[in-house]
């Protein structure tokens, strides 16, 4: 199954459940409160997913390592390499 199909499957499953409760398709005579909670649920889910995404990306950006030591180490090694290569007869 491709990722697209997985997603479509997941979305339609949730959609079906939502319709079932919101419009009481099976005549289960669910309490009114269930329906009231259910109908704006997709929007809530979307908004909370958006918040989760923003928070995750924000957190990861904030904690992203700035590898300054790596850059300094590299610069030193470049100097060393150039000197050594010149000794070995490399013409740049």
């Amino acid at each position: 199954m491709t990722k697209l199909l997985e997603w479509l499957f997941g979305v339609s499953l949730v959609g079906a459940l939502w319709a079932l409760v919101t419009f009481d398709l099976l005549d289960l005579s669910l309490p009114q409160t269930y329906r009231e909670v259910a109908w704006p649920m997709p929007l809530y889910l979307l908004v909370s997913f958006g918040c989760y995404s923003l928070a995750t990306v924000g957190y990861r950006v904030a904690t992203f390592n700035d590898c300054e030591e790596a850059a300094i180490e590299l610069q030193e090694q470049i100097k060393e390499a150039k000197e050594d290569l010149r000794k070995k007869g490399l013409k740049m």
């Binding site: 990722k3 990306v57 950006v61 790596a70 610069q75 390499a81 290569l85 490399l90």
Partner: protein
């Protein structure tokens, strides 16, 4: 019986690592990356070879490579140039044809990938007999040097700043891809990886994308084919010399590639 030994080329210490270095206008960087590779392979004692695949660079990268071959020996530095600039995927196929190692390491020749991590890749591979080991900027001590805050983000970037290729490598793009594809690896667009030769051969055969998406497709397809993936945190130092070669169209092809993978894997 000693002569029988050679029929087990891959027994314990017998592993050989072929480093593929596709180059285009890397005259300044190539000697440095080769020097570092020789240094770290020498220190760790693993058997290796470096295969330089130059795509007809006008800046004379090939001449520099020839000098390096004289310095370090023809068994260590192999030159497999091509007449003109062709895709990255075909560069790997081309390089692999001539590789004598049972493992292949692919990395950028622009010094953003440091050879000091290669012994860690090798140890990691041995630890779990992984089919591929991928360097990751997004885990453990991994990270990036030379990106400002803007380059680390994507969502806001999309809205407020002109698009630039670096954002494809960003946190936002990576998150988006993670959500859509759930590939089971933390760094999808990185290209510092170690593969079992057979695994790379079968992956390259299947991968059709170009540019950044190629790296992503490789790891996504690896998961699809149930190959095992190990990860090693790496620091990524953005290009020291020379311009990044990626154009603005990269973002369009990234999105296209992402959607293609989404629909086909």
């Amino acid at each position: 019986m000693a002569s029988r030994k050679t029929s087990y080329p891959n027994r314990d210490g017998g592993d050989k690592y072929s480093v593929l270095l596709p180059t285009y206008n890397e005259r300044e960087n190539l000697p440095l990356i080769v020097w570092l590779l020789v240094k770290y392979f020498g220190e760790s004692g693993y058997n290796y070879e470096i295969i330089v695949i130059d795509d007809g660079s006008p800046d004379g990268t090939l001449e520099v490579a020839e000098q390096l071959q004289k310095i370090y020996g023809e068994d260590k530095i192999l030159l497999r140039p091509r007449a003109k600039k062709l895709g990255l995927g075909t560069a790997y196929i081309h390089g692999m044809k001539h590789a004598t190692g049972n493992f292949i390491i692919i990395m950028d020749a622009d010094l953003s990938h440091h050879p000091k991590f290669i012994p860690e890749f090798i140890e990691k591979q041995k630890e779990g007999d992984y089919d591929l080991v991928s360097g990751t900027r997004y885990r453990g001590n991994g990270g990036v040097y030379g990106w400002d805050l803007r380059r680390k983000l994507i969502r806001f970037h999309f809205l407020f700043f002109p698009l630039s290729p670096s954002l494809i490598n960003s946190r936002g793009a990576n998150f988006l891809t993670q959500v859509l594809l759930r590939p089971g690896a933390s760094d999808l667009t990185g290209s510092f990886r170690l593969y079992k030769k057979k695994v790379l051969e079968s992956l390259v055969e299947r991968c059709v994308s170009k540019g950044y998406v190629f790296q992503m497709e490789m790891i996504v397809r690896a998961r699809q084919l149930n190959y095992t993936v190990g990860e090693v945190p790496i620091s990524f130092v953005d290009r020291v010399y020379g311009e990044s070669k990626l154009g603005g169209n990269e973002i369009v092809s990234f999105v296209k590639g992402l959607l293609t993978l989404f629909a086909t894997t």
